[in-house]
């Protein structure tokens, strides 16, 4: 079915969408058209009936339940849109350190163990140390001043660090520090 331009004009007239001049022209045209007047009457009837009697659907969901659904979504959205916590970026130095630290620690432990097991008496008996040192030559300052060296040895401190199987000692003398491990058994 084609809708005529005349019918659409009648509808525009009912909806107040015509310019004043067009309204006058249409009113003149309707005077001579029974069908046009019937269309006008039907459109007016429907428009008024709808506008004055809009069916209102009732919301049966309880107020609290309805609101809680909305609130939950809003809070969810706000949580999503909250700025993400700053991720600490690792510096180049810390990256390198993180990789070499275990290796360095292992190398240090091995070095200490090698010293302990290859020359344990040298570390513990100053007289042996003196013998070894005497081989270093007659000009050694330590040999030239044995008493002074011995005194410093005596002043050296030994500090035990607790451990179940090993005792760890720190030996300080002549401005140097030696650390060794001693098995308790």
């Amino acid at each position: 079915m084609e809708i005529s331009e005349f019918e659409l004009k009648i509808q525009s007239y009912v909806d107040g969408e015509l310019a004043p001049r067009e309204m006058l022209e249409l009113e003149e045209a309707l005077k001579g058209s029974v069908e046009g007047r019937e269309t006008l009457a039907a459109l007016v009837m429907v428009k008024r009936t709808l506008q004055e009697n809009e069916p209102i659907a009732l919301l049966e969901t309880p107020r609290e339940l309805y609101w809680s659904g909305i609130e939950r979504q809003i809070l969810g959205l706000e949580k999503e849109s909250a700025p993400a916590p700053k991720v600490q970026t690792e510096t180049l130095w810390s990256q390198i350190w993180r990789r070499i630290a275990p290796v360095s620690a292992a190398a240090l432990v091995i070095a200490v163990l090698m010293i302990v097991f290859t020359h344990p008496e040298a570390l513990r008996d100053p007289s042996i140390s003196n013998q070894n040192l005497s081989m270093a030559g007659e000009n050694s300052s330590l040999l030239k001043e044995p008493e002074s060296y011995q005194a410093r040895i005596e002043e050296a401190s030994e500090t035990a660090v607790s451990s179940e199987e090993f005792s760890t000692f720190e030996y300080t003398a002549s401005g140097m520090t030696v650390v060794w491990l001693e098995h308790k058994n």
Binding site: M1, Y66, W67, E71, Q73
Partner: protein, 198 residues
């Protein structure tokens, strides 16, 4: 001290809600939830969907609250959001809301070619509740495309141009749809009257 939300008007509540006060927004929801639900229902004709859509419309309005400048009433602004959401929903469901004029012509049927004579108003003598029930029944029988135009034009009093913009089609198409929808409603209301007289 807690504000007396019940004594505040919509504009005041909206302004407070714009500042992040969710209790103000809750009061707005309480005031307008029935209308918003009813509008969603008039568009989609499904109660469950209408509840979901109306709640979603409130969430959307919370997000857009900063855009509310008070040019229109809060109720009108909120209803527009609801209509947009319902149209999006209908588009997504591909319920043929934008079917062609030719398709709608077929729906109209040959026997309904002429607008019925309304010598006697088919709604005369009916109580409001009964009349509303008949209108509701008639709206149910419209296609979604026709019903959407009727809701926007007759209930929301939107102009042709505004509806065309929302539906992304020409003003001529809107006028045609509106004419068909009104014609069908007129036919249905007369038919209900005649069935009552039998």
């Amino acid at each position: 001290m807690r504000p007396d939300y019940a004594s505040m008007d919509d504009a005041e509540l909206a302004a407070t809600a714009q500042g992040g006060d969710m209790r103000s927004f809750e009061e707005l929801v309480a005031r307008h939830r029935d209308k918003i639900f009813a509008r969603a229902y008039s568009m989609c004709r499904n109660e469950e969907e209408a509840v979901d859509l109306s709640q979603e419309a409130w969430v959307r309005s919370w997000k857009k609250l900063a855009q509310f400048q008070g040019d229109s009433s809060f109720s009108t602004w909120m209803t527009r959001i609801t209509i947009n959401l319902c149209l999006d929903h209908l588009r997504k469901k591909k319920r043929r809301i934008f079917e062609s004029i030719e398709k709608m012509n077929e729906e109209s049927g040959g026997v309904e070619r002429l607008i019925p004579l309304v010598d006697e108003n088919p709604t005369a003598g009916l109580e409001n509740s009964e009349l509303r029930s008949r209108i509701d029944q008639a709206l149910e029988e419209l296609s979604e495309a026709h019903r959407a135009v009727i809701v926007m034009h007759e209930f929301e009093e939107m102009e042709y141009r505004e509806i065309a913009k929302k539906l992304d089609c020409s003003i001529g198409t809107i006028m045609s749809r509106l004419f068909y929808a009104r014609k069908k409603l007129a036919v249905l209301l007369v038919k209900y009257k005649q069935e009552e007289g039998l």
